[in-house]
């Protein structure tokens, strides 16, 4: 059996405060390369917290998290940043497109952060825009894109450096059905290339699209009804 792209074991997360807020309780999850996993659950169930841990934006209170076979819990802040730049692609519900920058510039920022040389950027930007169908909008400011275009740009940004893991938080939440299907098709194409795709969703259609749909309920993860 090949090594999973990501694996969390008995992960808990409690936010400090008075009183402390426990969010995740002994979560186990393993996602292989090319696998599509959907995690759904009600608001406050801990979906975003789990995604933040998987995306190295947050650290678990206890438990282990291996990304591409490497234990991430003891990594320094700067090393975690480097892993985010190289191993992970994010798609947020609020696409976070920089409205004042052009489509190409939005992508170039990601490449600059990832340390890709200026010479190689044009090809990567062109490839990514081709994949998401935004080549014609290359020089348009982000603020002039439609909702569907912004989300496709967010996907292009996430897959730009061809990371082995793609994480998406409600990627279709603000889209109509056609645009939502479009985004899921893009995820499909990534999965076929061996990218592990984890999607947080409220949308039953998105949950059914996944190879596995897991429900996060009261901070515990279990196989969902859609799976």
């Amino acid at each position: 059996m090949s090594r999973p792209a990501l694996e969390v074991r008995d992960v808990t997360k409690t936010y400090v405060g008075h009183p402390p807020t426990p969010v995740l309780h002994g979560v186990d999850l393993s996602v292989g390369a090319g696998e599509r996993v959907a995690i759904f659950g009600s608001s406050g169930s801990g979906k975003s917290t789990l995604l933040n841990i998987l995306g190295l934006l947050d650290v678990p209170t206890s438990g282990a998290y291996d990304l591409l076979g490497q234990d991430t819990c003891a990594l320094s802040s700067s090393t975690r940043a480097k892993h985010r730049a190289s191993a992970l692609g994010f798609v947020f519900q609020e696409h976070h497109v920089l409205g004042a920058r052009t489509v190409a510039e939005n992508l170039a920022i990601k490449l600059a952060i990832s340390g890709v040389g200026r010479r190689g950027r044009a090809d990567l930007v062109r490839d990514a825009l081709t994949q998401v169908g935004l080549t014609h909008r290359r020089n348009a400011p982000g603020r002039l894109l439609s909702g569907g275009e912004k989300q496709r740009l967010a996907v292009a940004r996430a897959i730009l450096t061809q990371p082995p893991v793609l994480l998406a938080d409600e990627p279709t939440g603000n889209l109509d059905r056609a645009n939502a299907d479009n985004i899921l098709d893009l995820f499909d194409s990534q999965a076929r290339k061996g990218v592990a795709v984890v999607v947080i969703t409220h949308d039953p259609t998105t949950a059914r699209w996944a190879d596995r749909a897991l429900e996060l309920d009261g901070g515990r993860l279990r196989l969902g009804a859609h799976g």
Binding site: H83, F92, E94, H96, L98, A100, R101, I109, A112, G115
Partner: protein, 397 residues
């Protein structure tokens, strides 16, 4: 993220947020311009005040016989007839008087032949003044203390040499002049000291006042120099003749010597302090303005900063971005401020009828000042930006 990427990002951000950048640059320009302008105007005012003071500031009074008609009539006046032996003591006891001393030049009253070595056949040294002065005279002309000055109050044949006089007479200036002497009218005078602190006495061979008076047999060519406290020249001048010659004050004349150097130094020092205070306050104001603007900018960009962090930017990357933005705005603001200051200085000069003086060094320093102030003021906003938690910043709820 390399430097090119960083600068590209900075320039795009500055271009993108034109309104904020314009306000920031304007704040820096205003502060820098005000600072450079204030410094320039203060300096200009200092020069103007200095010029005005040069015409008015006085501390020195010179008392002379009412009529000095030449050697023939002077010889008829016996020694001590003009300035009694207690003249110095009488004047120094007056309020506001700091020092007083007598002087009579031998060179102008009779033959004074100076030779460096041979008393008879050696070459005559010319171009020097031989002056008889009292010890109090050196204090009255504010000369640095000379350890052997007390000898000037006697009648021993000794000399003190000014720097040029020593050079002309082949006497090396040193701490210990023992063994050196000059020949005055065929008589050897040992050198007992040097007067190196006052350029006015540089070409002077100083001998005791009493000796010169003895040699001439008269004090008709003498003068009494009086140094007063600042502002004391007028009051002292009105009573000094009576103090010296209570019996015949009309036999003396007084003149107030314009000597603004001390007052100039005082005014310049005060103005420099004023400028330092203004500069310090403006510096603080500038940095506060910049820091405030940058903090607001960072807060408004929290989602973007969070996104950058989520995409893999390190805390250092984020801090560098904010610092470079601030520094770039600082340089641009500094340049604009320099231009503003130049206009301000010229306008002030024109309005007040002064001579415009724009210090090019100050103008050149303005962009550097803008850069340094903005970079320093951006440290805290940069730290705040670097501390943005990506997980919180990119939350949608």
């Amino acid at each position: 993220m390399n430097v090119m990427d960083l600068m590209h990002d900075v320039l795009v951000e500055i271009h993108t947020r034109r309104a904020r950048t314009t306000l920031l640059v304007a704040a820096i320009a205003l502060s820098t311009g005000a600072l450079v302008g204030a410094v320039s105007i203060s300096r200009m005012a200092a020069v103007q005040i200095d010029t005005d003071l040069a015409a008015t500031a006085t501390r020195t009074i010179v008392v002379t016989p009412a009529s000095q008609e030449g050697p023939a009539s002077a010889l008829a006046v016996p020694a001590g007839a003009v300035f009694p032996s207690d003249a110095e003591a009488a004047v120094t006891s007056l309020p506001l008087v700091e020092a007083a001393g007598l002087r009579q030049d031998l060179t102008t009253r009779g033959a004074a032949v100076l030779r460096a070595r041979d008393p008879v056949d050696g070459p005559e040294v010319t171009g020097l003044t031989v002056a008889g002065v009292s010890a109090g005279y050196l204090d009255a002309v504010e000369l640095d203390a000379v350890p052997t000055a007390w000898m000037l109050d006697g009648t021993d044949r000794v000399v003190l040499l000014g720097a040029k006089a020593a050079e002309s007479l082949d006497v090396p200036v040193s701490q210990d002049p023992t063994g050196h002497g000059v020949w005055l009218n065929g008589i050897r005078y040992p050198v007992v000291g040097f007067l190196t602190g006052d350029p006015a006495l540089s070409s002077t061979v100083v001998v005791p006042y009493g000796l010169v008076t003895q040699m001439l047999g008269t004090d008709a060519g003498a003068s009494l120099t009086v140094l007063t406290a600042p502002g004391g020249a007028g009051p002292v001048a009105s009573v000094v003749r009576t103090a010296v010659r209570p019996d015949l004050p009309a036999s003396l004349a007084t003149s107030i010597v314009v000597d603004a150097a001390g007052a100039r130094r005082g005014v310049a020092t005060q103005l420099d302090r004023l400028v330092a205070w203004i500069g310090g306050l403006l510096l603080a104001l500038t940095m506060l303005l910049i820091a405030n603007a940058m903090v607001v900018a960072v807060m408004s960009r929290t989602p973007e900063i969070g996104l950058r962090r989520a995409m893999g930017a390190s805390r250092r990357n984020i801090a560098s971005l904010v610092l470079c933005e601030g520094a770039t705005a600082g340089v641009v603001g500094g340049l604009a401020g320099a231009a503003l200051a130049a206009v301000l200085v010229v306008a002030t000069a024109v309005v007040n009828g002064w001579t415009a003086r724009v210090d090019p060094v100050l103008l050149a320093v303005a962009p550097v000042f803008g850069l340094a102030a903005a970079a320093l003021a951006s440290v805290y906003p940069a730290a705040r930006a670097a501390a943005v938690q990506p997980a919180t910043a990119v939350r949608s709820d």
